[in-house]
Assembly symmetry: C2
Homo-oligomer: 682 residues x 2
C-alpha cells in the first residue's frame, strides 16, 4: 500500500529468524524478531473507515468542503488581515450552507440534531485552516451553544435559525482581562432595573473588560455576555445575557470595541475587547434556562445552590472543550503525515548501499522521534471518540436515570478536561517535533508547519488553561465528584480531603475498584522480573492503574499532613500542586490507554489488528518508559525490566517502519491540505 | 531590589527554624530551611555587570541601539513584507554605522579587531527583533566571515570595507535543496576554463539549487557560492567563489533568483533560491586562502588531504554556530523576563489572604515551570561565555603552540556544536513554557511571544541541524578528534570504533582523565545513600561525568558488537543512534554545568554568590532529576536519594522565589524590547 518508491532498507537487514539475546544490560543489538511474527499489510481504506467510525459520512463531507476551499491556506499568507478575516467569514458561511456546521442544533431550526456528528465535523475541520475552525467554534459552538443550552424557546426562536446559516453572527463574551480561567470572579455587572424591566450592563474597571473575544472585533452583531447579576441590591452570581453590540458595522450605544490586534496565529479570527457602559437590554435578554428574574424583580431558580447553578450553566458549554481536544489531535495528524512522507523521500548522509544516501526514516533516531507520537495520536484519537460519545449521550439526555445525571455529567466534564489537556499538549509537541524532523524546509510557510504551529499554540490555554483543567480532574478524583465538589475551590478541596482518612479518599475514587486487579497483575518480589508480559495490555494497564492510585493516595496524604502541620491551605496546595497535576495526568493517561486497548479489542483477528496492536504496544510502553523513573522509585519496575522496555520500543519502531506511510495515509488528510510539494511531492 | 508591589506571600509562611524531616517517602512537606540560611539580597546592577563580563561596553552599545530602533518590533506586524525587509536592511546599516556589527573585522578595514566583542554584540541583538539579528548574521557573519576567513588580501581589499558599512550586501550560498547538513555532497559545480581563466558555475538539477539563502531574494549584490571545483576534468571538492548575482536590482546574466516566500518567522530576512547557468567569474573569484588554481589550471593547496582541507574551510565558519547558540540563550532571557514579571502581577483563583487572589508565582507548579529554566539559562549563559572565549582565542591565533592547533580547533568545533544544540533547544522550550505561563495573553503579538517563538524556531535546524551537530560531538568524543576524524562519515566512525578495544576508546577520550575523580566521589554500596552532599558541586559534576563516561563506553561496546555480529554499519549506526546522541548530550551537559560551577567559584563570598549558588544547585539537580531513571538504572542513584533530589528542587524553588524578579532584571533586557504593557505594566 505504501507509495514510497524505494523499499525500506532496514527491513532487509533484519535476519528472519530469532537470535538468542545476549545476557546482561547490553543486549540492545539482540534481534527482536519473534518466531512466527509476520509483517502485516495495512489496507489503508479499511483503516480509515475504522478510524472514522460512526460519523464517516460527515467527516467525508468536511474533507470535501476543505478541499474545495483549499485556496484559503495560501490566502492566510497573502491577504491583508481585514481581507482575510472577511474571507474566513465567507468560507464559514459557505460551509454552513452544506449543513456541516449545524449538526448539533435541533432539526426544527435547520440543524442536524446530532451532537456526536457536530463534534466529528468540527474535529475534521482541523485538517484545514484553523482560523476557519476557530471561527466555526466561536459562532456555532460558543455563541450558538450558549443560546441553545442556556436559553429557552424564546431565544431559540429568535436566534437559532439565523445563527445556523451564519446570517446572524455572534460572539461569546466570557473571558475578562483580569479573569481568564476563574469565571466566577468576573467583574462585569448586570443590574436589574425594575422600573424599566431592563438589565443594565456595565464594565467595572479595566480588569473587567471582555478580552480575546472571537468575532468581536469585526463581525459579531450580538454577544452572549457573562456578568454578575444584581437584583434588588443582591448579587446572584454569573449569568449570561444576549446583548446587541454592533449595528450596521458600528458599535451600539454604550458599547466600546477594540481590536486585540495581531496574534501569534489565527489571524483570520477577529478577536477583540468589549466595554459596556450602562448598556440596557430587556428582561428577556437573560438566558433563562436555569434562572430567571420576574418582571417585579424576584430572582428565581430551580437550582438553589448558587455554586451548583453556576457549574450547571458552565457545564453545558463542555462541548467546546471536547471539540478543541479533538482539533488538537487532528492537527497532529497533518503534521505527522507531512513529516512521515518527507522521511521516506529525503535522503541524508551516509549510504547503506553504494547508490543512495540513507532515507531519514531508516535512521533509528528518526523512528524514535516520530513513531511514539504517531502511536499516541492513535491512542488519543480513540480516547477522543470515547469522550465525544459520552458527550453525545449526556447532552442528548440518553442516560439511564436522572439520579445518575449529575455524577455522569461531572465524570464527563473531568474526562473532557483531561482529554483536552493531553490532546492539545500533544499537538504542540508533535507539530514541533515534525517541523524539526523536516529541517529548514519545515520553516517555509508553504510546508504547513508555520500555520499549524502558530494556530494551534493557543489550544493549550484556551477553553480552559491545561494546568487548571488538570486541577479540575484531580479535584473530581479526590472528592469522587461529591455533591460538595462544585462548591469547592482548590483550597476548599485541600480542607475537604484533609478531613478524610486517606483510605476514604481511595475508597471513594473509581481507582479503588481497579485496585484488586492491579494487585493480581503486579505482584511484588521476583515475579516482576520477567520479560514475558511486556506486550500484555493487562500488564500495561495495570502499571498505569497502579501509578494513578498511588499518586492519588500520595496527594491525599500530603494534603492531610500539610493541614495537620498547621500550614495554611494556600501553602499546602502550592507545595502539593505538582503532585496534584501528576495524579490527574496519570488518571487521564490510563483512560487514554484503555480507550486504545478497548478499541483494538473490538477488531477481528487479522493484519489490521496486528498493526494496531503494534501501535498500541508502542504507545503503552512509551508512556511507561517516559515515567520509568517513577515506576522504579515506587518498586514497580526493576532496572532489568526498565531496560527491556526501552529495547522493546526500539523493536516496535522497526516493525512499524514499513507500515508508517500507510498509518498516516489512513488519517486521510486531503492532499490539498498538506501543500508541501517540495517535501512530499506534488 | 524587587519592583513587585506585594511581598511574596510564600516566604512569609516559611518557618524560620529547621524542622526535622519526616522519615520515609512522604517527607515533602518537611520544612527545608536549614539552620543558618539567610535569604540573600541581589544587587541587580552588580549581577548585570557579572553577567556582561568583559564585553559590558559593547553590550551596552547594542542595548542602546535596540532601544533606539524599538519601533521595528511593531513594524514587523504592520508593514508589508517587502517594506519590512527594506526596513530591516536600513536598521542593519544604521547599526553598522555605530561599529556594533563590525567588531570581528580587522581594524584596517574599519572593523573592531575583536572577535569576542563581535560575538557579544551579536548575542545581545537577540533581545530585539530577530530578523535584524539574522540579517546581521548573514551579512557580517556568514558573508563577511567567508570573505575574511576563506579569502586573501585581494578579496579583503576588494570587499571588506564596503561590506562592513553595509554598502556592499552579500549572501552565503552554501545550502542546497537536496543537501542541508551534508555540505560535502553539494551539486553545484564550478569548472575552471583555462582558455579564459574563468570559473564556470552551474546548478546541476533541482536538488542542487541553492535554497533558504538569506539576503538572496532582495538585497544581496554578491554571493559567496559553494561549489564542487573541477579543474582539468578532476574534482577537487567543495570550494567557495565570489559571484555577483544582482546588478542594480536585477539578477545578473545566468543567475535565476526566486523568493522562498513567507516563512514561519524572520520575515524581515529575504531568503531565496539561486540557480546558476554557466555563470562565468574570473579566476580570482576563488576564495583562495586554503587552495588555489594557477592561471594554467593547476590545482594547489597546502593541505594535501581533501577531507582535511574541506573541514578546515568549514571550520573557519564556526563563528556562526557560536553566535546562534548565544542568540537562542538570550532570546530565552526575554521570554523569562516577561513571564516572571507577569507572574508577580497576575493573581488567579484562591486567596491565601482575604484580600487578594494568589499571585501566579506563589504557586508551586508555576515555580517548577519557570525556575529550572531560569537556572538553565544562567548555566548556558556561562557555558556560552566559555565557548566564545575559546573561539576568540582560536580565531585570534592566541594558542600556545601550533602543534596543539588542530586538536584545539576540533575541540572548539565540538563545544560550539554542542552549545548551539542545547542553547537553541532550550530557547524553543523556554519560550513555549513562558508563553503558556502567560495564558491567552501570551498569544497576542504585542506581548512578544509570537515573534520570539516564530523567529527562533529555525535556530534548532539552521547553522547545522541540532541532531546532526550532536552526532558530530559524539564522533569527536569517540575518536578523540584523531587525525582520521575528519575523514570519517558516521559509518566510517562505526567501523573505526569497532576496530578498537572498548577500553581504548575510553582511554583516548578526555573522559578518562576524570574517571578517577568520579570513582572517589561516587563510591558504590551504602555510602551512596546520604543526603549530605546533594548541594556539593563535586557530587553534581561527578554524577554528570559518570553518565558521560558510561554512555560513551556503552556506545563503543554497541558499535563493536554490531560489527562483530556482521551487521552492516548503516544498520549498526541506525540502532545505536539514540545512544550516540545521548552520549553527546551527556557530554555537553557536563560542560555546561562545569562552566556554571567554575564561574560561581570566581565570586567572592557574599549575597551574589549565595544567590547564584541557589541557581547553580537548581540547575544541577534539575539536570540529574530529568535523567534520574538512567541514574537509577545504572546504579548511581537510590530511590531514596532520587526522591530527596526532587524535594531539594522544591526547596530551592521556594528560596529562589523572592529573588526571581531580580534574577531576570539582571539580564537587562531594555524595557522597550519587552513591550507587553498589559502583562508587565508600562
Amino acid at each position: 500500500m505504501s507509495t514510497e518508491t524505494v523499499p525500506p532498507s532496514s527491513a532487509e537487514n533484519l535476519p528472519s529468524t530469532a537470535t538468542p539475546a545476549t545476557p546482561g544490560e547490553d543486549a540492545d543489538e539482540r534481534v527482536e524478531t519473534r518466531a512466527g511474527y509476520r509483517q502485516p499489510v495495512v489496507d489503508v481504506g479499511e483503516l480509515t473507515r475504522f478510524l472514522d467510525g460512526k460519523y464517516a459520512e460527515v467527516r467525508s463531507l468536511v474533507r470535501s468542503n476543505l478541499a474545495e476551499n483549499a485556496s484559503i491556506l495560501e490566502e492566510a499568507e497573502t491577504m491583508s488581515r481585514d481581507d482575510f478575516r472577511d474571507r474566513v467569514r465567507d468560507v464559514v458561511v459557505e460551509m454552513a450552507s452544506t449543513g456541516q456546521t449545524g449538526m448539533g442544533f435541533p432539526e426544527e431550526y435547520g440543524g442536524g440534531g446530532d451532537i456526536g456528528a457536530s463534534v466529528a465535523a468540527f474535529e475534521t475541520l482541523a485538517y484545514g485552516d484553523l482560523s476557519v475552525l476557530v471561527k466555526v467554534g466561536v459562532q456555532f459552538g460558543l455563541f450558538g451553544g450558549a443560546i441553545l443550552q442556556l436559553g429557552t424557546k424564546g431565544h431559540h426562536d429568535a436566534y437559532l435559525a439565523d445563527l445556523i446559516t451564519g446570517k446572524l453572527m455572534g460572539c461569546f463574551a466570557m473571558t475578562e482581562t483580569g479573569h481568564g480561567s476563574n469565571v466566577q470572579a468576573l467583574g462585569t455587572v448586570a443590574t436589574y432595573d425594575v422600573a424599566t424591566q431592563e438589565f443594565v450592563i456595565t464594565t467595572h474597571g479595566e480588569e473587567a473588560r471582555k478580552d480575546y473575544i472571537g468575532n468581536a472585533a469585526r463581525h459579531a452583531q450580538v454577544a452572549v455576555v457573562f456578568a454578575q447579576l444584581e437584583v434588588g441590591g443582591r448579587s446572584e452570581g454569573v449569568h449570561a445575557f444576549v446583548v446587541p453590540i454592533r449595528d450596521e458595522g458600528k458599535p451600539c450605544d454604550g458599547v466600546r470595541i477594540e481590536d486585540d490586534g495581531t496574534k501569534m496565529g489565527l489571524n483570520g479570527v477577529d478577536n477583540g475587547r468589549l466595554w459596556f457602559d450602562g448598556v440596557r437590554v430587556p428582561r428577556t435578554a437573560l438566558l433563562n434556562r436555569f434562572a430567571d428574574v420576574t418582571p417585579e424583580g424576584v430572582y428565581e431558580s430551580e437550582i438553589e445552590n448558587p455554586n451548583k447553578r453556576f457549574f450547571t450553566m458552565l457545564g453545558t458549554l463542555i462541548q467546546g472543550r471536547v471539540c478543541v481536544g479533538g482539533a488538537g489531535i487532528n492537527a497532529s495528524k497533518v503534521a505527522l503525515t507531512i513529516a512521515t512522507r518527507y522521511a521516506v523521500r529525503r535522503r541524508q548522509f551516509e549510504a547503506s548501499s553504494d547508490e543512495h544516501e540513507e532515507l531519514l526514516l531508516d535512521y533509528g533516531m528518526h523512528q524514535r522521534r516520530l513513531f511514539p507520537l504517531l502511536a499516541r495520536t492513535y491512542a488519543l484519537h480513540f480516547a477522543q471518540q470515547v469522550v465525544s460519545g459520552q458527550l453525545h449521550d449526556v447532552l442528548s439526555g440518553s442516560q439511564s436515570s436522572a439520579g445518575d445525571d449529575d455524577h455522569a455529567r461531572r465524570e464527563l466534564e473531568s474526562r473532557a478536561a483531561g482529554t483536552k489537556a493531553l490532546g492539545t499538549w500533544h499537538a504542540t509537541r508533535t507539530i514541533q517535533e515534525c517541523r524539526e524532523a523536516c529541517g529548514g524546509a519545515g520553516y517555509l510557510s508553504v510546508n504547513r508547519f508555520a500555520a499549524l504551529k502558530a494556530d494551534t499554540d493557543v489550544f493549550t490555554t484556551f477553553e480552559g488553561d491545561n494546568t487548571v483543567l488538570l486541577q479540575l480532574v484531580a479535584k473530581g478524583l479526590l472528592t469522587d465528584y461529591s455533591s460538595e465538589f462544585e462548591d469547592m475551590d482548590q483550597f476548599g478541596m485541600v480542607r475537604f480531603v484533609a478531613n478524610l482518612a486517606v483510605e476514604t479518599v481511595i475508597e471513594k475514587t473509581n481507582v479503588h475498584k481497579l485496585l484488586e486487579r492491579v494487585k493480581d497483575l503486579l505482584p511484588g518480589g521476583d515475579q516482576w522480573d520477567q520479560e514475558a508480559g511486556l506486550l500484555d495490555p493487562d500488564y500495561q494497564l495495570a502499571m498505569l492503574r497502579f501509578r494513578e492510585e498511588h499518586m492519588l493516595a500520595g496527594v491525599a496524604r500530603r494534603l492531610k499532613r500539610g493541614i495537620d502541620n498547621k500550614l495554611n491551605p494556600g501553602v499546602v496546595f502550592s507545595r502539593v500542586q505538582d503532585h496534584v497535576i501528576g495524579a490527574a495526568r496519570a488518571h487521564v493517561e490510563r483512560l487514554v490507554l484503555e480507550a486504545f486497548v478497548d478499541k483494538v479489542a473490538t477488531l477481528p483477528g487479522g493484519d489490521l489488528k496486528v498493526a494496531l496492536n503494534l501501535l498500541c504496544d508502542l504507545h503503552a510502553l512509551s508512556t511507561i518508559e517516559a515515567d520509568r523513573a517513577w515506576f522504579m522509585e515506587h518498586g514497580r519496575l526493576t532496572v532489568t525490566r526498565s531496560k527491556a522496555i526501552s529495547r522493546e520500543i526500539g523493536s516496535l519502531c522497526r516493525k512499524i517502519r514499513p507500515l508508517a506511510v500507510d498509518l498516516v495515509d489512513a488519517f486521510d488528510v486531503p492532499r490539498e491540505m498538506l501543500r508541501a510539494p517540495d517535501l512530499i511531492g506534488s
